[in-house]
């Protein structure tokens, strides 16, 4: 279970990096991903493998950072006519509060509960896709450590992951991915959004399954 949590953490990290502004350093790290992960055939056991493979192919063929940066700005940053494919949860649903600020406040409370605060570099709002994915990566990392100590804490973390996926990522990432497929977007962003959607949906199923098994064992 520890190894699986670590693997999930690595995938969340990678997906989060993909949807941050593509600096030269970030681009260099992303290009390395297919070389490092190609031999990891164990991922073929999961249904997100086919979209994941398409993402790896797109990463291996990543355009220059200036091209990528232009594309990032064109797609994900708000222009005078709004954002083409807003990578913000509040653009798709605002939760129970009904407003973007309420949703961001709720998310910040959630992050603060596990001792996290928003970073200034990069400075993104709490409902940005990369921030939510990073938070999931953090929870998976904590879960991996918890499995070494026993099952009670890990079980609680699984529940936290399940709630976060259910209440946030699963509710808007599919729509975000669809909006990106409709655009003439760079292959890496289209493949990235499709892989992100598949991974998030699959991860919720897995977390639910593991939670159920742990509950039954208890």
């Amino acid at each position: 279970m520890k190894a699986l949590a670590q693997l999930r953490q690595a995938i969340y990290r990678l997906l989060a990096a993909l949807f941050l502004y593509p600096t030269e350093a970030r681009r260099r790290a992303l290009v390395e991903v297919p070389r490092v992960l190609e031999p990891e055939r164990v991922l073929a056991a999961f249904p997100f493998f086919l979209p994941w493979e398409r993402l790896l192919r797109a990463l291996a063929d990543l355009p220059a950072s200036t091209v990528l940066q232009e594309e990032y700005v064109r797609l994900f940053t708000p222009g005078f006519d709004g954002c083409r494919c807003a990578p913000y949860e509040s653009a798709y649903h605002c939760g129970q509060g009904g407003s973007a600020s309420w949703l961001c406040a709720e998310l910040e409370r959630e992050y603060a509960f596990v001792g996290l605060a928003l970073s200034n570099d990069p400075h993104e709002p709490a409902d940005h896709l990369a921030v939510e994915l990073e938070y999931m990566a953090f929870l998976c990392g904590r879960e991996a450590e918890a499995w070494e100590r026993g099952t009670a804490e890990a079980r609680e973390l699984l529940g936290r992951e399940r709630n976060f996926l259910n209440r946030h990522l699963v509710r808007w990432v599919p729509e975000f991915a669809r909006s990106l497929q409709d655009q003439e977007a760079a292959a890496v962003y289209r493949a990235g959004a499709a892989a992100c959607e598949a991974f998030v949906l699959q991860d919720l199923d897995l977390v639910c399954l593991f939670s159920r098994i742990q509950e039954a064992r208890r």
């Binding site: 056991a45 249904p47 949906l201 897995l206 399954l209």
Partner: protein, 520 residues
């Protein structure tokens, strides 16, 4: 149109489990379907097939698995297919070892050919699967992968909902009612599937008149493609042929004579009545169904028997032997051996779609042969709506609720009307439950097949003049509805009567202000 490349992977142990000549099958498939990549792999069912090197990533997007037994190592095989670039959940598995066992070598080989060709057609008709169709579980059977660092689940296919087709936002919950496991619910006007609870029986799929569910392997297109090839006289010389729908939970499975072509379903209760009849128009001499023996709401026996009974009643009315469709037919005999010639083929006009229009088209092919009077049956997949003009107020709520648009409400030329198309009605009863005047019997629906009205098509059920606003001339409401409002208000509220019946909603506040001013 070029056929999509498909990989046909046959377990070498099929030859041991039955007397199928695999070399002949492989050569025949390769010859008749140049776009199929056919491979016989040793140890396929045990996950020792090493499919990535067998297929060498030749671009086959779909796969057909010819299995030697009832089960296989799902985890390993799914993983290998993904590595070969193939979507494993839309792969079509054929239990050759099971269905060809006990047959003489020639018949077994011939049957294996037909079944594999049909599975290829079904796989090509598949729209593929998404993660939404994948439900993880841990199989009881061990895996070669169990030595891995972490637990690897296998995945089974479950239906997914296409929100753009779903009518849940209009109040439809037919799928929720059809699910025996309580896995579906309506939240915020959307259908939500709880994968934990879903057993993949597919009853929701056939309950939806808008075909809003996607169920890889069992979508109407896939089943139709499979059945058409299973009955195609050009594919095989086996005659006569019958179609046998088999519930995946049915046990023990019958021994099948060569002419019975099995179509496995996750649950026989998902079988719509017209799927039992359509094969008869495609060349089948008989159609059978083998439900499971499970008891209670999750068992499919009673639901299947009701549909079979409806089909038999329809056949009798059409002057045909009722035994053309049977539950538990004698599968050890050639299908329909005691029956006369099959019905004339009607290839182009037969569709397995779940939309009521497609159901009506199949049923009409049968009633065309004989009895034309309307008749009622609890298993009838179509219905008839009747409106009582004495109590109906013409509010149009029934049309808003109707998920298949059999009822339509409109306003034109100073009149409001309700039209009804019997070829679109599934007798779901949502119109009755939504009717505000249901207690007074304003609307009635019955599971009745009326060939005459089906042929006549859409007709008007109600027509009532629209009252117009005395201030702006815009429509206020149907006269029948306003009459009913007046009746309910009685002698009280003369002012209210006036405002409701004479002014449209936009002018009412204005009218109120004027009245106040006048009084003041």
């Amino acid at each position: 149109m070029t056929a999509q490349p498909a990989a046909v992977l046959i377990c070498a142990d099929v030859a041991r489990a039955s007397r199928v000549n695999l070399t002949a099958v492989e050569a025949w498939l390769q010859r008749t379907d140049p776009h199929a990549v056919v491979r016989v792999a040793a140890g396929l069912c045990e996950g020792r097939g090493d499919l990535e090197s067998v297929l060498a990533r030749d671009g086959a997007g779909r796969a057909v698995l010819g299995l030697c037994g009832d089960g296989y190592d799902e985890r390993e095989l799914q993983s290998q297919l993904r590595q070969a670039g193939i979507d494993p959940l839309s792969a079509s598995a054929v239990r050759l070892g099971r269905w060809c066992a006990g047959l003489p070598p020639e018949a077994a080989t011939e049957k294996a050919k037909v079944m594999l060709a049909a599975a290829v057609a079904a796989a090509r008709a598949s729209g593929g699967s998404t993660v939404a169709n994948a439900k993880p579980y841990f199989p009881a059977r061990g895996s070669r992968r169990s030595f891995l660092r972490f637990p690897v689940p296998a995945y089974r296919v479950v239906p997914s909902v296409d929100g753009s087709r779903c009518a849940a936002s209009a109040g439809c919950s037919l799928c929720v009612e059809a699910c025996p496991f309580g896995a579906l619910s309506v939240a915020d006007g959307r259908i939500e599937l709880d994968k934990d609870g879903c057993e993949g029986c597919g009853r929701c799929v056939s309950a939806c008149p808008r075909e809003a569910f996607h169920f890889p392997g069992y979508n109407p297109k896939e089943v139709e493609a499979r059945v058409r090839v299973l009955l195609d006289p050009e594919v095989s010389a086996i005659q006569p042929r019958g179609i046998l729908f088999v519930c995946a939970c049915a046990s023990p499975l019958p021994f099948l004579e060569a002419g019975w072509m099995p179509v496995e379903l996750p649950c026989a209760a998902m079988l719509p009545a017209h799927w039992l009849l359509a094969p008869l128009l495609l060349g089948a001499v008989a159609v059978g169904v083998v439900p499971c023996e499970r008891q209670g709401s999750t068992g499919c026996g009673p639901a299947v028997l009701q549909k079979v009974d409806f089909c038999q009643a329809l056949l009798r009315r059409a002057g045909r032997p009722a035994e053309l469709v049977r539950s538990h037919p004698p599968a050890e005999q050639p299908p329909g051996m005691e029956l006369p010639e099959p019905l004339p083929r009607a290839n182009g006009e037969v569709r397995f779609q779940l939309r009521p229009e497609a159901v009506a088209a199949v049923l009409l092919r049968f009633v065309g042969h004989g009895g034309t009077s309307a008749w009622e049956h609890p298993g009838c997949p179509l219905g008839l709506v009747e409106i009582n003009p004495a109590t109906c107020t013409g509010c149009g709520m029934c049309a808003t609720a109707c998920p298949s648009e059999a009822l339509q409400y409109g306003e034109a030329d100073g009149e409001a009307w309700v039209r009804f198309d019997p070829a679109r009605c599934t007798a779901c009863g949502l119109c009755v439950s939504r009717c505000p005047e249901q207690a007074r019997g304003a609307i009635h629906v019955s599971r009745r097949l009326d060939p005459e009205s089906l042929r006549a098509g859409s007709g008007q059920l109600l027509r009532t003049p629209l009252r117009r606003c005395v201030a702006c001339g815009a429509p206020v409401a149907p006269a029948l509805m306003l009459n009913r409002v007046l009746e309910l208000l009685g002698e009280d509220g003369i002012q209210l009567q006036r405002v409701l019946t004479q002014y449209c909603p936009s002018c009412r506040p204005l009218w109120g202000a004027r009245e106040e001013a006048r009084r003041g």
